[in-house]
Symmetry: C2
Subunit: 337 residues, 2 copies
């Protein structure tokens, strides 16, 4: 290990390929043009929201295999998760590929967790190619965590909007395109952080402490400061969580406001009805669209990707528990040869 | 990889220490004397079943650290999971240790998944010591998946009884006792298997196909037959699932009935009210008690541990979906020097 929470890989671990699938609201946003697949119908032609989310995962893997020219049999492992109880979106979505699977739950940090474990696996030489995937769906998440959509509840200004989408990645030991590729250089694995926030309509505030501690740990472990990165992307803190994070980091004498972006703010920028996007799918699709694009184009040389998760369920919330957070950091580098 | 689904480790990966915590019913069963901690009160002194389950995880980790003489700061990663939606037993139970955490969901196969990922991590040299842990609680699981206990529903003969308990393990690159130790020699990682069974009161039937395919894959990948193992332990198929598994394996020309044991049958042997024990905690505590004991005493030289999970939620069940299964295999060897 490098420091207490980080690993730097000794081999080249590549993000060989990315595929993103989103719903209408995401397609209508400022990143709309950059997603691989956008579907007008948020039911995705299915009978239930859960089936729709499973289908989004399936579409993302299908697109990934097409883009990479690979078959499911070329993939050694799949690291996957979603937000629903018992990961049903994942189980029913990925069944038909018959790939050895590790089911993951890191709430909205799952994309970071899946990429971390996938990169650890490839760097160790256990596999040549693995898939990392995470998804969320606005309606299945509202049903899971909040109110039935038919109830038409009002949403406070701090509330985020769960992204309908999935991001899927092939992590492998070779690049797909030798000229332009993205490397996973290392990871910083998060601990559970609980500052006692209990407001499930203000997830940004619940998760910001975990993001702050993760960024601090990453800087300490690698003995770097903000100059090491061109940009740092949190997962889905939204505007309010983003402001809290900046404040928390300032208290730690880390002032990175000029390099700090939030996937949740980027995906719905200009949207006034929510504080930003959330859900595993949020950081999963923003990474696969604008972050990967800028790394490949050389606009960024090195990025810290920090998806954040809020560890609650309706049961824990109704029993009066706080909402702890967790964040997983992935160090990404663009490489041109 | 060895074959399509297996890894054999090139270094010695040790199960350094095990700790098991159970409730009253488990303590009253035939393995009762072998568990580290047994608590009479299934509320474990807490206000809710979920808090009780979190506390069981905490007690298991505490016991593990005491038994091994290690501190939480000696542990590099924790791989953990439970059955509850959004893994709340794990999040609230393990928070205070401040160890980098990977949250896992493999239903009742989670103990196999956690040991697999933990062993992969240690063998790769990423960590010297990691904890793998899984838990379940009868009452929190009934509330999560079936009926409120107060409803007093009748249980069909095929139904299993969720074990109240947690098993925790330190997986490390050195043994605790050089004379007698247990090694993780390799793993076989499961795929999702769905034979279309829809009866959530007959989980054994849902999971038996995944166990059958996992055992077949293990034999093929390692090019071995049943003589390679002294015993094969499934996680929580129960009597009916165990019979189905034997039949399925016979169809694959694998006749291992004389070496096939089920943790769910062992933990409640003689109990007539259920088909056996189930839940992540079932295989987790049976491994840490009788299986580890027999490996250390030399009664077994090599064992295949195959926890099995049923991938359903109340949502998927109520939407008429089938209950797919998954199984994760861990090859354990006793070593005396």
């Amino acid at each position: 290990m490098t420091g207490k929470q980080s690993l730097l890989f000794d081999k080249d671990v590549y993000v060989r390929c990315a595929a993103t699938v989103v719903g209408k609201k995401e397609a209508d946003g400022p990143l709309g043009e950059m997603f691989d697949v956008a579907v007008e119908d948020d039911m995705f032609g299915k009978k239930s929201w859960e089936e729709a989310e499973s289908h989004i995962q399936e579409m993302a893997v299908d697109k990934l295999l097409i883009k990479s020219g690979m078959a499911a049999s070329d993939i050694d492992y799949i690291y996957a998760g979603d937000l629903l109880g018992q990961l049903i979106a994942t189980s029913f979505g990925l069944m038909r590929y018959e790939i050895p699977m590790f089911g993951l739950y890191g709430a909205c940090s799952t994309m970071g967790e899946a990429l971390s474990l996938g990169a650890m696996c490839v760097n160790a030489g256990y596999a040549q190619n693995v898939i990392a995937i995470a998804s969320s769906h606005f309606a299945s998440a509202e049903k899971q965590f909040r109110y039935p959509l038919e109830y038409g509840n009002q949403r406070p200004v701090a509330s985020t909007w769960t992204v309908t989408g999935a991001g899927a990645y092939i992590v492998g030991d070779k690049p797909l395109d030798k000229k332009k590729c993205v490397l996973i250089k290392g990871i910083t694995t998060g601990k559970i952080v609980d500052y006692g926030v209990k407001d499930s309509m203000n997830m940004g505030a619940c998760m910001a402490p975990a993001a702050a501690e993760l960024i601090e740990a990453n800087f300490k472990d690698l003995d770097v400061d903000k100059d090491y990165y061109d940009a740092i992307f949190t997962g889905d803190l939204g505007e309010i969580g983003n402001r809290i994070l900046s404040e928390l980091l300032k208290e730690k004498s880390i002032d990175i406001a000029d390099k700090l972006y939030d996937c949740g703010m980027l995906i719905y920028e200009g949207e006034t009805k929510c504080s930003g996007g959330s859900g595993c799918g949020c950081s999963a699709v923003v990474l696969g669209s604008c972050i990967m694009d800028r790394l490949i184009r050389g606009e960024y040389k090195r990025v810290l990707f920090v998806p954040t998760g809020a560890l609650l369920s309706t049961v824990s919330y109704n029993e009066g528990k706080s909402v702890p957070g967790i964040a997983h950091g992935v160090i990404l580098e663009g490489k041109e040869s």
